[in-house]
């Protein structure tokens, strides 16, 4: 019972807070503009595909393209900030004003307080995502496109990934709020982690990979094998005979890039923003993330583990906190 009482109050506090409304408004405006442009491009490609005027093996355009790179980047930036602002002072403010002590003098367990706060914020984030999706669907409908059930499932998946992303930053902020002495320190800690995970971590991946693996092997590619003479009326594909030197060169280069990618990916999976973009991009057959690999398991694991770890630390810390 205590959990739901706290969650209800937190939800009401969140959605009526001025800073929540302000950041949400900016995020929705930015997203709406991006979705509007994305929808134009998607409908154009979709109509071309349907009319059969697209040649080759180009896959059917995915509805996820309406969220596109810039739409996702808008959610990535403003959504991340929104998540941080929702959580950075949840505990510190209550300690500063003394309301936590008053609350704890009533029959409520501490775990109900922290879980209730998280649940209330999660419900508010659900509302944020629902609004984002409603805007996207509204734009599509306005442009005369009726999404199929597959499209709706893809949009729902996008919503769930976005919800997990926003909750990740909320849990980071909640973590900062439980370890910091006051709200200003908590804000600094939360934004520090945000910058490290979204900007520094991907850059660090490249730098560490460069430091460990070094520059690409300094070997000149062997001369390409002679091209076989095409014979008239022969429609068989041309097979290039590879020389042993050429295969050795390719093996060494692949080995180098595989090592480098493995190190970089380790850092990328620690970055919620990279994981978010990779996962959203993977929903579409025409990915919009450069150099994206097909296997997104690592990104998915990293994406789930990060909020769980931050929330678990906050939970333990809050339960052991000395409130004097």
């Amino acid at each position: 019972m205590g959990l739901l009482i706290v969650a209800r109050k937190e939800f009401a506090d969140q959605i009526t807070s001025k800073r929540f409304i302000a950041v949400l408004a900016i995020m929705l405006i930015f997203s709406a503009i991006s979705f509007y442009q994305g929808a134009d491009e998607f409908i154009r490609q979709y109509r071309m595909f349907e009319s059969g005027s697209v040649s080759g093996n180009i896959p059917k355009p995915s509805i996820i393209q309406i969220f596109g790179f810039f739409g996702s980047a808008g959610i990535l930036t403003f959504g991340g900030i929104l998540g941080l602002l929702m959580g950075f002072d949840l505990i510190t403010r209550e300690k500063e004003t003394g309301s936590l002590k008053t609350l704890l003098s009533h029959p409520v367990f501490r775990d109900q307080i922290i879980n209730g706060k998280a649940l209330g914020a999660f419900a508010a984030l659900c509302l944020v995502v629902a609004l984002t999706l409603v805007i996207a669907l509204g734009i599509l409908t306005m442009k005369g496109f009726a999404p199929s059930s597959d499209d709706l499932i893809a949009i729902l998946k996008f919503g769930l990934i976005t919800l997990a992303y926003l909750f990740t930053f909320f849990s980071i902020a909640l973590f900062a709020s439980t370890i910091a002495k006051n709200s200003s320190t908590s804000l600094l800690v939360a934004f520090g982690i945000f910058l490290v995970l979204t900007i520094a971590m991907p850059m660090l991946g490249g730098l560490v990979a460069q430091a460990i693996v070094g520059s690409p092997p300094n070997i000149a590619p062997p001369p390409p094998p002679p091209s076989p003479q095409p014979q008239a009326n022969e429609h068989k594909p041309i097979e290039i005979e590879k020389s042993p030197e050429w295969e050795e060169y390719q093996r060494k280069m692949n080995e180098y890039w595989d090592k480098r990618r493995a190190i970089q990916e380790f850092f990328y999976v620690l970055s919620p923003s990279t994981n978010y973009m990779t996962l959203v991009s993977s929903l579409s057959e025409r990915t919009f993330m450069p150099f994206q690999t097909k296997d997104i398991t690592k990104n998915l694991v990293g994406f789930v583990i990060l909020p769980v770890v931050f929330f678990a630390i906050s939970y333990i810390k809050f339960l052991r906190m000395e409130i004097t």
Binding site: G98, T102, S105, H106, P107, I323, T324
Partner: protein
Amino acid sequence: MIEVENLTKMYGDFKALDGLSLKVEENDVFGYLGPNGAGKTTTINLMIGMLQPTSGSIRIADIDVEKNPLEVKKICGYLPENVGFYDHMTAKQNLLYFSEFYGFSKQETVRIIDDLFELVGIADAANKKVGEFSRGMKQRLGLAQALLNDPKVIFLDEPTSGLDPQGAADFREIIRDLKKEGKTIFFSSHILSEVKEVCETVGIINKGKLVAKGKIEEFNQNVTIVVETEPSIDASILEPFGNVKVKDSQIIVEAEKDCRIEISKTLVQKGYIIKELHLMEPSLEEIYLRIVQEEE
């Protein structure tokens, strides 16, 4: 009603409470005195289940606080020092929120809250945001939230600090009324005159240890009687009653008990006119300082 046994609380290497044992009877108003940092608030926080003791036990109405903190909170009310609320909510919304944890019906809650606002004198400000409240109003609201569940035991931590004289007097009046209703009150304060006015039993804590406890009158080991007569009296006449000192025209008698009637009879028999005959009890402040200094 409150039984504390061998209670110790450590903050790292610092011993905030050191083997504290204490008993407060039902319907008692217990004054808890001590210098800053002596461990008063820590004791209350442990009693209300807000902190975990390092060792020792606390029972309130026969409920073990450590094992059943929620049960204890259901029968206790707590007004913390510098009580805090949700500033963006009105006074009524704050109390409605806290009352939800007791599972009262909506109708009952509204009635209880309205009565409490009347009791603490902030009925006019019930729908005002707490962020706009003065310190005194917050303190009154704090008392209302402490009484929300009609508690058997009420913990008040420095309840009148920040109140104006009228506010402090109102507070004392409410405490007396609560005592009449049969409540047990644990009252921590550094205002000794106030403790003396509302408390029957007093405990003095210093450096985490309870150094004295008892009824206020039990602390008065000696009494001082001031005598002035016309014509001036020979001090030796009063020597049978205790140690005698002459101060200007007055005689100061330090006696083991109040013997003003006997002194009065003697003076009348000897034909003196009594200009002054009064008792000078040591103030609680003097008792407190003496005890704390003895412990230093």
